[in-house]
Every structure is written in structure tokens, then in C-alpha cells.
Amino acid sequence: MLRTATLAVTFLAGIIVILAFFFDVGFLATAEARVQDWGVIVAAFALAMASINLVQVNIRRISSSDDATEKICAVVLLAALVVMSIIGLTQGPTSDTYNVLFDGIMAPGQSTVWALGVFYISSAAYRAFRVKNVDAGLLLFSSAFVMLGAVPIGEVIWSGIPAVSQWIVDVPNMAGMRGMLIGAGIGAFSGGLRLLLGIDRTEVG
């Protein structure tokens, strides 16, 4: 019964937006608008839920871990989550205190974590980027030109570099990406179809 209801809801939500896309019928447009607006609200609940899941995982970390660092980290994480939520819910996400936490912790935290990638890229460049075969040779050729084409120094080294770099991105890369885009599109379509009809074993939930 529950499974049938789940499958029905999944199917209906999908089929409504698909039909409304192809057919200009009044009631379909209304149904689409309803379903989409509801989707935003349910997604907002889901967003909050993901954070609650994090709370659950970390409470478990505090109670079950033997490692002191683990426990401290979990406590810090939960405290940060609670403080941020309370300030945001009482004073709003544009208040001064909230902005201090956003600008002081969240924004620099994420951008530094992303930026760290440059270090791993450098050591991988040194240790692992070997011209072992044709594949690796082509990859290195194209990446070297694209890298040098992205910065002024490339043009200083050889005036043709920006043009070659642009050509690699616009022609062979474009063609290859297009092939992958079409292939991946078919794959995603197939996944969506299986999901709507409930024939995927990786079913929802």
C-alpha cells in the first residue's frame, strides 16, 4: 500500500511536468504550477532535514567515539550549527551578527577547502602525470596548452599559444564533450524513466 502510494506520487509528479511541457492544455498548466510550487516547499523541508541528519550523526559521534578529538570536533560542529541557526532564525540572515559568521567562517572555509586542491594538483603533476602512452600524451598536450593559454605568460613564451589553446577548447574538446553530453543525456533519460516507472532497484528513499 505504502509502496504503491510512493510509486504513484513519484510517477504523477514526473508525468505532469512532462505532459505540460508538450501540450498546451489549461488544466495541465495549472497542475504543473501547483506541483512545482509544492516541490519548492518540500525541497525546503528536505534542505533543513539534511542538517538534522548531520545532528544525528554527530550526536552518535559524541556518544560512541573513544577518541577525544573526535568528541570535541562533534561538539564544536553541533555548537556552530545551533548558534548559526538561532541567530539566523531570530535576527534573520542579513543581520550583522549573522554576516560575521558567514563572512568569517562559512565563506572563507569553503573557498579555502576548494583552493587547497592546487596543492594536490601540484604534487600529482610532479608524481603521477607521466607520458606513459598515447592517451597520457594527448592529455598532457592539451592541458599544457590550455593552462598556458589561460594566462598572459603563455603569450610571452610563444605568441601562438592563446590561439592553439582556444582551438583545442573550441574544436576537439567541444566535439568530445558533445559526444559525452549526448551519451550522458541518454543515460540520464534512462535513469529518469526507470525511476518514474519504479523499475529501478535503487528506488527512492
Partner: protein
């Protein structure tokens, strides 16, 4: 000597790289910059819009990519403000609205009228579905803005029901949902021209959309910012960071080169040794 180079500690590499970053930041070299066609096309499109046109800016980014995109956003926003275009900001990533506030505050829009010349509508949950919902009925999806002002009577929305009624969409993107979703839900079905300010890492991925003209223009990260700054003749952070970028790129390529020299030298030595063993 070579085998020592092969076993070098990663941290030594990191240190070398760190120096390669810092030195040119402190002592700039002043290398010239490049302006690609996609940057120029975005500039031309904005330049061609009549005063008062409405442009949607979708801030679909994580703070992780903000450093890379902020200079380009500043340059484009300044250009739009100088042209008298009206900016409707929205976001489908939760960090977007706060970052958009920062970007607007640092641009010429600060001197304009909020609610008339520009607005920050805030965040909507649900990714692609939220985009489709906002595109269909913009004020329905955002009954109030990020600062909790009601949008019903804002002058900027006069005559705007759906996104069919705006002149252009600029997607500021660090990933999905982002450019492909905007093309699918708005660009193609509604016929609105889309341009993007995007992290460099996605430039190669979006090349097919440029060639098919589903995407009109593309401003790639810091490099795009430097180009755009020179087009509008307002130099900023994009240009300032270019030298450090140049040297760092060169350093990574040197790492690849040295790594390969070590690899081939060791391989030929191993071959010699095994040949000797074979002979003995």
C-alpha cells in the same frame, strides 16, 4: 641525484608553489592580458541592451568558487550599472544571496535605487524545479526578497510576469544546478539569451553550448575578469591577480616536466640494469 628528486617530499613542492604565488603578488610583473571571443560577446550583448532593460542574475554558486568569480561579477555589474540596466538577482544555492549582497555592495549599484534598479530576491530550494517555478512566475516564487521586503509592488517588476519578459539571463555558476539547467528550463523553451560567469574548471565542459549558441557568452573566472576589466576600462582585482596566476601555472608545468624527466631517466636506468643482469 635523480632518484632523490623522485622521492622528494610533497611538502617541499607545496612550499615552492607557495613562494611562486606570493612573490608576483608582492612584486607584479605587469604582463599583458587576453580577451577571448566569448568575453567580447557577453560585453557586446550587454552593450546592445537599451537603458532600463531587465537582466536576471542567478547567483548559483558556493562560497568555494566566490573568490574566483567575484572580480568578474564586479566588472559585469559595473558595466550593467553604467548602461542603466536593471538587475534582478536570485539564487538556487543557499550561499548565493549573501554573496550577491556582497557583490552588489562592491559595485556601482550601491548608488542606485533598490527595488527599482536592482533587487536581491534571495534563495529558492529545489534546484532545477525551483528555476522552472521562478521562470514561470517570478513574484509568485519570490513573494518577498532576501531582506524580507514584499515584491508585489516593486517597480522593477512592472510588466514582468515570467522570465519571458526579461532581456537576458546571466548565470554565475560553480556547478550543478547551473548552466545546463538554466538552458533546459529557460534558455531553450523561453528563448531568453543566456550568458555565464563561470569557474575556469567548467569552461571546457560548456564549449558545446557555446558552439550550438544555446549559450551566448561565457566569462571564465579570474581570466575573464581581467579581460572584462580592460573592456570597460576599470582595472580591479582580476588584473591584479594575473601575474601570480601566470607564475603558478608555469610552476605546475615545470613540475610535470621534471617529474617526467625523472621518470624516463629512471626507466632507462632500470632497463640498462636489467640488460646487464641478463648479460651476466
Amino acid at each position: 641525484m635523480l632518484s632523490k628528486l623522485g622521492r622528494i617530499d610533497s611538502r617541499v613542492l607545496y612550499l615552492i608553489l607557495l613562494i611562486a604565488f606570493i612573490v608576483p603578488l608582492l612584486c607584479p610583473l605587469g604582463l599583458p592580458m587576453i580577451i577571448s571571443d566569448e568575453i567580447k560577446r557577453t560585453y557586446d550583448l550587454i552593450e546592445s541592451l537599451p537603458e532600463g532593460s531587465r537582466v536576471v542574475v542567478s547567483f548559483d554558486l558556493s562560497p568555494g568558487g566566490y573568490d574566483e568569480l567575484a572580480p568578474a561579477c564586479a566588472a559585469v555589474f559595473n558595466h550593467m550599472a553604467m548602461k542603466g540596466l536593471r538587475l534582478i538577482g536570485m539564487s538556487f544555492w543557499d550561499a548565493g544571496p549573501s554573496l550577491l549582497d556582497r557583490s552588489l555592495a562592491g559595485s556601482l549599484y550601491v548608488d542606485k535605487e533598490y527595488g527599482d534598479d536592482y533587487v536581491n530576491l534571495g534563495f529558492l530550494a529545489g534546484g532545477e524545479n525551483a528555476m522552472a517555478a521562478a521562470a514561470r512566475d517570478i513574484r509568485g516564487a519570490f513573494p518577498s526578497d532576501f531582506h524580507d521586503n514584499p515584491t508585489a509592488n516593486m517597480p522593477i517588476f512592472e510588466g514582468v510576469q515570467s522570465l519571458k519578459d526579461v532581456e537576458m539571463v546571466i548565470v554565475v555558476a560553480t556547478g550543478n544546478p547551473g548552466v545546463p539547467e538554466w538552458i533546459r528550463q529557460v534558455g531553450d523553451p523561453m528563448g531568453v539569451p543566456i550568458a555565464t560567469i563561470v569557474i575556469a574548471g567548467l569552461v571546457a565542459d560548456y564549449a558545446p553550448y557555446i558552439q550550438s549558441k544555446q549559450l551566448i557568452g561565457m566569462i571564465p573566472g579570474l581570466r575573464g575578469a581581467a579581460g572584462y576589466e580592460s573592456l570597460i576600462d576599470m582595472l580591479g582585482r582580476g588584473t591584479a591577480g594575473l601575474d601570480a596566476q601566470s607564475v603558478a601555472h608555469l610552476m605546475i608545468l615545470i613540475f610535470v616536466l621534471v617529474g617526467n624527466i625523472v621518470y624516463f631517466a629512471e626507466r632507462s636506468r632500470e632497463k640498462e640494469e636489467s640488460a646487464k643482469e641478463g648479460a651476466a
